[in-house]
Symmetry: C2
Subunit: 432 residues, 2 copies
């Protein structure tokens, strides 16, 4: 791969290549299936056409860089794929790397998507297909901004060093009015919370209009900041049409808010970039709908590949689910995702982002999370795990802060809880 | 369902509901699994929280409207789901209808997505989950514009009545320069083509910059229109960031182009709406990446549900694949999708769009397409099936026009081909 990934001196950028690694399963010879995919996603189609000259192919055809056969299975993972005529079929699984010259589409993330994750997912040759990873050439890191705040900027704004941001999600997710939300926020602040976010279901409905919610919540946050110098970071969900997001962002700026949350699948890459270019605060990237890409082990897009797109586009915080979550994802997969957020994208543009742990999180998972991630650069969000604490919201915050203090100190959680009744109550109430 | 779908006289719009129908599979009792999904997607979370009052639930909780058990299976369709403790599990499949008050999120398509197609796809209760259909209350049709041109406007601009628009995709998909593209366009025009589109892989790369391509292609199209009064519709792929799409659209307007193509998954709902609100020509909606939602029969989103979002947002043409296509989709599924595009969304806002048949299409599929769809309101796109015709591009266009004339006349294709050598050659070359 390296020979095309590294730009030779004096070469123009059109020789730079995009690399994508896929896991695939096919009953056809691997080389044929990979070639069909490369053709479909570049200059080929289902039959030869006159303009497809050797010169054109040389400048535009996707290249099958590598095929590693992994395994064979006697049943296809997904129904509906074609099989070759003749012999009873055997399905081969392989890891395949394709490359494309960036000249095919230019340094455009929306257009990149059509190339690396477009029609290929419907090709009849495949009974399984997952995009595992991507490597983008330098023009992409030149054109796209990456996060404006990232880990360091988030820590400065939230006033938190050397430990995770302890966060929560307003619960119930929907139904509270602006003043009820503000009352919950007040209790969270009193408890010492670092970070609060809207649920992704909370938007701008008539029960809890965005503007009223922002004004009521920021009144509490600003009052506290005025008294103590510490401003809690609240990620307001401004997901909407582009003009709505811009207007909502400006209200956040006006009221002194320090974080904007957006649902990535709802707004898309172009909607996101329109927000990013306008934004003057960290963007908290929610991945709801992610299951569509991840729920089948034989199909879709890996988080490792996917998060690169949004980091480059400018997300500051990326959701990664959590250990022992309420969803289907395994702990290994969660940690792989979170670690990916902390690996530089490029030497001159690392685009590091805060992984956001969320979904069924309580005091229980702090130590295991710290141990597995090996970093405190994360946002640890407990919704029910704080707001549902039997002794109330403040006790909920304390329990999670204590659990993280124990984790960082390397102290066994149950020992630590002996002298900390709010932590003890949390461990009892949320026992696993 | 109807009691909440129809607005009682005098009620404000906050009582209106969104309905979504899911196919699901679970090892848990159906009522419990459906309730968990309704909770997760509205006011509930994984444990009770203090603010979740009866009054709040009454105004905000999603309602399980209906559960129809369909089937039981002895193996889960997808791995990774939880099973209840105790007895060996049985997986039940069912159709379930949920409803939400629109007040939860307001009439916003991006926020609707987080509710109907968000975290629920990751819930551990389900070993299969597909969003089958949605019904949106009136505020959505009031807020969103729908197609500005639709079927009638497209026909006027393309000058085509009483038959499908015969279309093609420039092939090779990528690699041709602007003048090479224009030369192909000239041959297509001479052959009598109605509609041409960029391949979705063709964007704004250095080999074929958008502006140069538009100017070269429109020179040919305008020359022909000046001579004959007939302007071929060319859908230029303007997919990109919002500001790029606006600028590209304005160039299209300036050069007299009559159609803008966009990749829906690349730009997202918010990106799309930003284009729609600016656009003064039909928007050709490409669905590349659709396989992510459709490839597993046990998971994802049905086209019937999905196309409603984009029609409401303002697409004029929607891709539906084609009969006997090069992908995995069955003909039945293709026709269900195409028919859906021709069913009114609402009485006062039908939002009808042209279904676009594309992927491995040639003269062969015309009759079967017409018979199955029962309408000529479609765009029939043959890429290789026109540009790969053994006697050249003009012969390719003629073969497809003849095939459609035969279909509409109800004449058997092979009989019709006896006096039409270009059709005969196409049938021979693309024989199935």
């Amino acid at each position: 791969m390296a020979d095309r990934a590294i730009k030779p001196p004096g070469e123009s950028y059109v020789r730079d290549s995009i690399y994508a690694t896929y896991w695939l399963e096919t009953a056809f010879p691997l080389a044929d299936a990979a070639a069909a995919m490369a053709g479909e996603q570049s200059s080929g189609t289902f039959l030869p056409v006159p303009g497809e000259s050797e010169a054109l192919k040389a400048r535009s055809a996707a290249v099958v860089e590598r095929i590693n056969e992994l395994n064979t299975v006697s049943q296809p993972s997904l129904p509906g794929a074609a099989v070759p005529k003749g012999e009873p079929p055997v399905w081969r699984q392989a890891e395949v790397v394709l490359s494309w010259p960036i000249a095919n589409m230019g340094a455009s993330l929306p257009n990149l998507l059509a190339t690396i994750a477009g029609n290929l997912f419907e090709l009849r040759q495949f009974s399984g297909l997952r995009l595992l990873d991507i490597t983008l050439p330098e023009p992409f890191t030149r054109v796209y901004p990456g996060p404006a705040f990232g880990i360091g900027g988030t820590r400065v704004l939230a006033g938190v060093k050397d430990r995770p941001l302890i966060g929560t999600i307003i619960k119930p997710s929907v139904g509270l009015g602006p003043e009820e939300t503000a009352a919950t926020v007040r209790q969270l602040i009193d408890g010492g919370i670092d970070f609060i976010k809207d649920d992704e279901l909370q938007a701008d409905g008539p029960h809890c209009p965005f503007d009223d919610r922002v004004r009521a919540v920021m009144r509490e946050i600003n009052n506290h900041a005025d008294r103590t110098g510490r401003k809690v970071m609240y990620a307001f969900n401004l997901t909407g049409e582009v003009d709505e997001m811009w207007r909502r962002h400006d209200l956040l700026l006006e009221t002194g808010a320090t974080c904007a949350m957006v649902s990535l699948h709802s707004v898309g890459l172009s909607g996101f970039t329109a927000l990013r270019r306008h934004a003057q605060m960290p963007i908290h990237a929610h991945r709801n709908g992610w299951g569509l890409f991840a729920r089948s082990p034989h199909f879709g897009i890996s988080y490792v590949a996917w998060q690169k797109l949004w980091r480059l586009a400018g997300a500051d915080h990326m959701h990664v689910n959590g250990l022992g979550n309420k969803f289907c994802e395994t702990d290994d997969s969660v940690i792989t995702s979170a670690r990916a957020c902390l690996i530089p994208l490029a030497e001159d543009k690392p685009c590091l982002v805060m992984p956001v742990f969320s979904s069924g999180q309580t005091a229980w998972q702090a130590s295991a999370t710290y141990e597995a991630l090996g970093s405190t650069d994360l946002i640890y969000c407990c919704g029910g795990g704080i707001i549902g604490h039997p002794d109330g919201i403040e006790a909920g915050v304390h329990s999670v802060r204590d659990a993280w203090a124990a984790a960082i100190a390397g102290a066994p959680l149950e020992d630590y809880a002996k002298t900390r009744p709010e932590l003890a109550r949390a461990l009892e109430a949320f026992g696993q």
